[in-house]
């Protein structure tokens, strides 16, 4: 069976975020693009399923500027994915989750999979829209905030859990389907050095920018336009409460919460 895992290049967590000169986006200067967070959990889930069902192939698919996409695809290969597809973003195309979904849908029509995995959101724009939108385009059900996906014998069905408000929902679902995974529940593996070196030479399939441009054209009039990207004003640090006894500290804090911050219930 074929599993596809959608991965997005995001700035390394250590990146010092900075607006670009126009103030309309992240300044990409000096940013290290990595496979991170939710996507690591999705890749880990794909690899666990592959290990549990012999004959399963895992294909990582990434949409973005080719240089960045290739970087995270090689990281996915180093972790154990079998194949990779780079979906090349046309120059200057709108950065919108629904446009991204249309581009990924094109890739999935060329490299079909019975199970599509992704993170429930990415650590940059955090829209959480790409997975469900891809599922709608593929006309398959989607299962969000998922953990613990297991394939049943034959790979026609799966069981999974959804981590929702107040607990875990247990579900049984048919394939094909799309599953958007929760982050950091499965302790993602790290790549071994020989595999990292080997991944540098691994072949990457490509969906050319011109094909992507045609596939997303219908969606572009609906794309959101970023007018501003800013950093929050620096926090000036806490106002410290002076006190002599614990009781005095408590009374002062409650008074502040009630009268100044107005958040006392």
């Amino acid at each position: 069976m074929e599993i596809a895992v959608l991965v997005k290049p995001v700035p390394d967590a250590e990146t010092r975020l900075r607006p670009d000169p126009a103030g309309k986006g992240l300044d990409p200067e000096g940013v290290k693009w990595v496979l991170a967070g939710y996507d690591e959990s999705a890749v880990e889930q794909a690899l666990l399923l592959k290990e549990s069902a012999p004959g399963t192939t895992v294909r990582a698919i990434s949409y973005g500027p080719a240089v960045r996409a290739d970087e995270v695809l090689r990281a996915a290969i180093a972790l154990g994915c079998d194949r990779a597809t780079s979906v090349e973003a046309p120059a200057g195309v709108a950065d919108d989750p629904l446009v991204t979904a249309a581009a990924l849908h094109l890739a999935l029509s060329r490299f079909p999979a019975s199970l599509v995995l992704c993170g429930k959101q990415t650590g940059d724009h955090e829209s959480g829209l790409v997975g469900p939108a891809v599922a709608e385009l593929l006309a398959v059900p989607e299962y969000g905030v998922a953990v613990n996906v297991r394939l049943d014998a034959g790979g026609a069905e799966m069981t999974l859990q959804q981590s929702v408000e107040g607990g875990l929902l247990r579900l049984r679902a048919k394939l094909p389907a799309l599953v958007a995974l929760q982050q950091a529940w499965n302790d993602p593996r790290t790549a071994k050095l020989p595999n990292i070196l080997k991944s540098r030479k691994a072949p990457i399939d490509r969906v050319p920018a011109a094909d992507v441009a045609a596939a997303v054209a219908a969606r572009l009039p609906l794309a959101t336009r970023r007018l501003a990207f800013r950093l929050p004003p620096p926090r000036t640090g806490a106002k410290m409460i002076e006190y002599k006894t614990p009781e005095e500290a408590a009374q002062k804090l409650v008074r502040i919460l009630r009268e100044k911050a107005k958040v006392f219930p």
Partner: protein, 330 residues
Amino acid sequence: MTGAVVWLERTSTGVAGASREAVGVARSIAGGGPVVGLLVGAGGPSAAERIPVDRLLLVDAPGLADASSAQLAALLAAAAAASGADSMVLAGTARGRDVVGRLAVRWGAAAATNVTDLVAGGSGELHVTRPVFGGRASETLELPGPRRILAPRPHAFAEPPPASAAPPSEALVLPDGFSALPGRGMEGFEPTVGSKGPELGEASIVVSGGRGLRTPESFHLVEELAESLGAAVGASRAVTDAGWRPSSYQVGQTGRAVSPQLYIAVGISGAIQHIVGMVSSRVIVAINSDAQAPIFKVADYGIVGDLFPILPALTAEIRRQRGLTGSAPG
């Protein structure tokens, strides 16, 4: 912009607070047109009787209490067609956001989630602001019309005052092909063990404990403080990694991101991975024995000192101020 449809997400106690906030957002982008609530699941309109919508559309079907996102997207599109609305608002809950992604495709609309602020201009333009990078930055987006879907971030917008009278309601006719849509395939539900009080992501107050509590036995001090405030309980990664509390309590980059009105960090030093999960809270209070702890850089108010006498004193003061006596509040 004229008219908006709001999905009124049900909880065990009625309509989710985040959905009531969504009604207020719908009013501000409806351009004077009607705000229509969609209520799906078993039971009549009583769950929504004080919700300030102009009209309620009902899908009274017990089997749809746990509808799939595909089913909800189809029902919302039908509700928009029935009411002529060109905007939709869904609470930014886990379920709500899944529906938005499908709906944006099915209904052909621009969409934005995690919205914390918006400006609806007089000539129909709509600009929204949303935090990105875990609250380390924010962006302002323009949503082209005519169709738009917004998912406001829970607690980012005020709940509108309740209506004085119940809105008129009618049944929504199921759209063609509805019965062919897959359901959710739910087999069972395992409640989070030991969780009391409101849910982390929904709570308007969160009290989190960290390694400063020293032992799992002293974590009850955090829980008692939370209980006195009617708050949800969270924890730092150090606490969940050590197994003092399950991972579902974890607030941070690798756990839950929360944005309550009030966040109280107790004995949490403030590693960046924790900060990104709570920094967009409205008011942050830190209580820590180390005056140099990085948590005080993001907090609004700080108390430096020994947690062990301060926490019971604070819990007692809050109980006294709220008129709570010895037993737990209802």
